[in-house]
Each structure stands twice: as structure tokens, then as C-alpha cells.
Symmetry: C2
Subunit: 267 residues, 2 copies
């Protein structure tokens, strides 16, 4: 049975998309059947794989609006995720794309009773087909991100090794606790992932020490180092493993994938 | 008459808060009476000045809810921005703080007719008291950011010199055009500000060249270089000019302030 993992942090630019793209690619390479869902209207996970933001088959927004329509009209033609999922350049990895029209989804959700569980209902038929389903979230705690946290079995929290990202972590953990108590009791924290780490900077070392002090073994052993190749790769539409196999970024994300697989008993 | 400038970009982590803090501090030092408004529930501009996120006098959320209440009940006691504005360590600079409860404002706005102009109405009495009013926006295009763009005379768009930030710029310019046509015809683009620039990286130079090619003289001459001191300063609760007067970050932001003052005919 597949595991759904949301990749979330309301702080912007902490490495959510970079982690979504390269962790999903690493899981694919390690022979885990993986689906990456882009739940950010910016569509960075989609374009990071070199895919066109205007996907003729549709995207996450198409699936959401079609599901909502079918709630009201049983005869409506439903567009399922299976109809819009696209294969990527990585074996075992496909993607459910997004683009700017996803902004409209938040307004459509608002009027439905179970507005926090819409994504959960759309994704649950897919769980049996994949080992891992990753959801790349936007830098906000709006209704789409809440939907992702309700659909998820666990959440990965990327934390840039900088002051503002550290400061927001406590508030995010509180928000996750609220979601656990009210909407998704089985949600766990898969781990806190330190990103853009530079061992020569005092600030980076202070932030890592602070996070490990407060959150102990919730913090992944794997740390993602700052590495220019990671920021170059999306401009070529490739995950790091295809852009520069030898780079530190490739090694970091393969290690992360192995750590997660091990933690989930080899699944 | 003061000028209201929003600092906005839905892409996360591009330097909105770093620009808000250090540009407002530079304007203060250059003897312009300046107000910084924190319109991001993360409260990074507030904590970046070392201020407590729980301000006993209140914050932007207090002003908004009090204004909305008074719309419905003329006898209600109004808490005005003047009641909650706090001085900072910089001469001529004060701040209207924010914290996590600002998340609630979006839900409160939704039911009001002129929900996009609430911030504009709250701020217009302040314009005569300041030379510049800067608004630090969150990484989203939700109702609070739309309110900031409606209240503003112009907008500064920080763009990190990386692929994803470049990609989102076109969409943001489109959104600004929509706001200009429907909600705020007098909104202009004060400038596009390149941030976290490292002249030795090919990607940074490609992004700068690409932005200048498309947006010509809308791009500020001043470029903000990547500088570790800029990311250390907020952990000491200080703008860069107080943390390290000699640093490149201080020089970059003073130059930016001077460029903006010159562009606005010395005001
Ligand atoms: N380890 C790293 N080393 C170098 N650059 C990185 C690293 N991780 C991410 N980046 C770059 O930093 C920027 C921010 O990362 P990314 O876009 O993945 O963050 P995000 O949290 O998804 O942002 P948003 O909040 O906008 O969704 C990007 O330009 C990315 O290429
Ligand atoms: N020129 C710079 N050099 C080095 N670090 C920088 C620079 N500008 C910003 N930073 C650091 O990069 C991170 C992101 O910047 P900042 O928080 O200002 O972006 P933001 O756009 O306000 O983010 P958000 O989208 O979450 O509001 C912060 O940790 C900040 O300290
Ligand atoms: Mg992202
Ligand atoms: Mg910010």
C-alpha cells in the first residue's frame, strides 16, 4: 500500500520543490513506483521536469473541478488523476502536473462541506498503484496545503539553515498538531530536512544545532548541502541525478531516499 | 505626500523581507520619514527588527478587525494604525507589526463588498505623515497581498537570480496588469530588483541578462549581492546597517534607497 508524503513549509524558498523533484527521482531510481503531485500554482515541480505548464490532458485543477462537479451531478464525466498523469524521464516516476489555474481551486473548495478532504478522496484510489506519492506544496497554509496534509500519511518539513526558516518551524509544528487533532489523526512527521547547508557558515551550524536540540530524532540524518548544480538543474528540465550524477546534490538526495525507505522497513 | 510601495512576489524566499527591512532602514537613515508595514503572518519583518511578535498594543490584524467592526457598528471603538505603530532602532523609521493571527484576516475580508480596498482605506490617513510606506507581502497572491497592491502607489518585485524566480516573473507581471485594469489603475512598477546575485555563477548572469532583455529600464541599476551578513543580521534583530556598516549588503541597500529617492525627484 503506497505512502502519501506531503512536502510542506509556509516559509518560502526553503527547498520544497527541489526536495520534491530530487527525492521523487531518487525513489524512482531505487525502483520504488513513485508519483509526484504538484500542488503549487507556480507549477515549479512540473517545469522542473521540463514539462509544459499547459498540459493538454489536464492537471490537478482539472481533477479537482471534475470531482466537485460529479459531487453535484452523478452523470458528469469525471476526469481522474489516471487520465492526466504523465511519465517523466526517470524510470518508475510519473507526475500529476499543476499550473496557475490551480489558484482558482481554493475558491471552489470553500463552499463544500468536506472541503479539507477533497484531495484525500481524489488520491485514495491511487495509493494501491504506487509505493510513494509525494505532494509539493506552495508556501502557504491555505486550503490546498491543508488538503495535502489531510490526504498525507506523513509530512517532510524542509528547513533552510537560516534564521527566518528556523523561526517559522515552531509555528508550523503547531499547525501540524492542530491538523492531527482535528482533521487527520494518523498524520506523522516523516522528518525535518535541513537544506542549503554550508558547513563553513556559523549561522548554518547554529541552526542545525538548534533544530537537533529541539526536535532530536525527528531530524533526518541526511543534510542537503548548498550546491549550485541543484539550482542549475531545473533550468535544463532535469532532476539533479540526470544533470550531474557525480554532484553532492545527487548523493544527498539518494541518501535521503535510502533513509526514508529504511525507515519504512524497506517498502 | 507619502508614497506607498508594496514589496511583492508570490515566489517564496526571493528577498521580500530582507528588502523591506533594509530598504526601509536605508530610507530612514537618509532622513526620509518611513513606515514599514508587515503584511505577512510569518511576521519576519517584525522579528527582523528584534520586536516581539506578541505586541501588547496590537498589530495589523487588530487594525483590520477593528476597521471591519466599525463598518457595521458606528459606535465601536476603532484601533487605528497610529495606536499600534512602534518606533525602531533606526531614526525616522517605525513599524506596524504582524503575527500569525493575520492568517485570520483573509477569512474576515471575504464577506465585505470592497474586500480588496480595506487596507487602502486603513492606510490613506497615514500617507500625509510619511515620505515612504513600505508593505512586506507574504509569498502568495491571496487577499492580503491583493489589498497591499490596491493600497500601493507602486510595487517593488524582488527576483532571486535563479531559474524558478525568473520563471514566475512573467506571471506576476500579468497579475499586476490585472490589478491595474480592475482595482488600482494608478499602480506602477517601482522596479524589478535582482537579489542574491553572485557574479561568479553562470546562472546568476544568465538570469540578470534575461530580465534586463525583457524588462529593460524597469530593472533597478542596483543589484543586491549574496552576502552572508544579510542573512545573519535578522538573528541579531538588526537591519544590516546596524549589524555591519561596512558590508556589501549595507552599500547595496543604501544605493537602492538613493536610486528610488532620485527616481521620485528627491522626495
Ligand atoms: N541545496 C540547494 N543548493 C543550492 N540551491 C538550492 C538548493 N535547494 C534549493 N535551491 C534553490 O533555491 C531556490 C529555492 O528553492 P525551491 O524553489 O526548491 O524552494 P521552495 O520551498 O519550493 O520555494 P517556494 O516557497 O516558492 O515553493 C531555488 O532557486 C532552488 O533552485
Ligand atoms: N542578498 C542576500 N544574501 C544572502 N542571504 C540573503 C539575501 N537576501 C535574503 N537572504 C536570506 O535568504 C532567505 C530568504 O530571504 P527572505 O526571507 O527575505 O525572502 P522572502 O521573499 O521574504 O521569503 P518569504 O517568501 O518566505 O516571505 C532569508 O534567510 C534571508 O536571510
Ligand atoms: Mg516550491
Ligand atoms: Mg518574507
Amino acid at each position: 500500500m503506497g505512502k502519501i508524503i506531503a512536502i510542506a513549509n509556509q516559509k518560502g524558498g526553503v527547498g520544497k520543490t527541489t526536495t520534491s523533484i530530487n527525492l521523487s527521482a531518487s525513489l524512482g531510481v531505487l525502483e520504488k513506483k513513485t508519483l509526484l503531485i504538484d500542488a503549487d500554482p507556480q507549477g515549479n515541480s512540473t517545469s522542473g521536469f521540463g514539462l509544459d505548464l499547459e498540459n493538454p490532458k489536464g492537471d490537478l485543477y482539472t481533477c479537482i473541478t471534475s470531482y466537485l462537479e460529479a459531487l453535484g451531478n452523478p452523470n458528469a464525466h469525471i476526469i481522474k488523476p489516471q487520465n492526466v498523469i504523465i511519465p517523466t524521464s526517470i524510470p518508475n516516476l510519473s507526475i500529476l502536473p499543476a499550473n496557475i489555474n490551480l489558484v482558482g481551486a481554493e475558491l471552489e473548495f470553500i463552499n463544500f462541506d468536506e472541503r479539507e478532504s477533497i484531495l484525500k478522496n481524489i488520491l485514495s484510489p491511487l495509493k494501491a498503484e504506487y509505493d510513494y506519492i509525494l505532494i509539493d506544496c506552495s508556501p502557504s497554509l491555505g486550503l490546498i496545503t491543508v488538503n495535502a496534509l489531510v490526504a498525507a500519511d506523513s509530512v517532510i518539513i524542509p528547513v533552510q539553515t537560516e534564521f527566518f526558516a528556523l523561526e517559522g518551524l515552531g509555528k508550523l509544528i503547531n499547525t501540524i498538531k492542530i491538523i492531527q487533532s482535528r482533521l487527520n489523526p494518523s498524520l506523522t512527521v516523516e522528518g525535518i530536512l535541513m537544506t542549503m547547508y554550508n558547513g563553513q557558515l556559523r549561522l548554518c551550524n547554529q541552526v542545525v544545532a538548534e533544530v537537533r536540540k529541539h526536535f532530536h530524532n525527528t531530524v533526518f540524518d541526511t543534510i542537503i548541502h548548498r550546491n549550485t548544480k541543484l539550482s542549475e538543474a531545473p533550468s535544463f528540465g532535469k532532476p539533479i541525478i540526470l544533470y550531474d550524477e557525480e554532484s553532492k546534490g545527487t548523493i544527498n538526495y539518494i541518501n535521503l531516499a535510502q533513509e526514508i525507505i529504511k525507515k519504512n522497513n524497506g517498502n
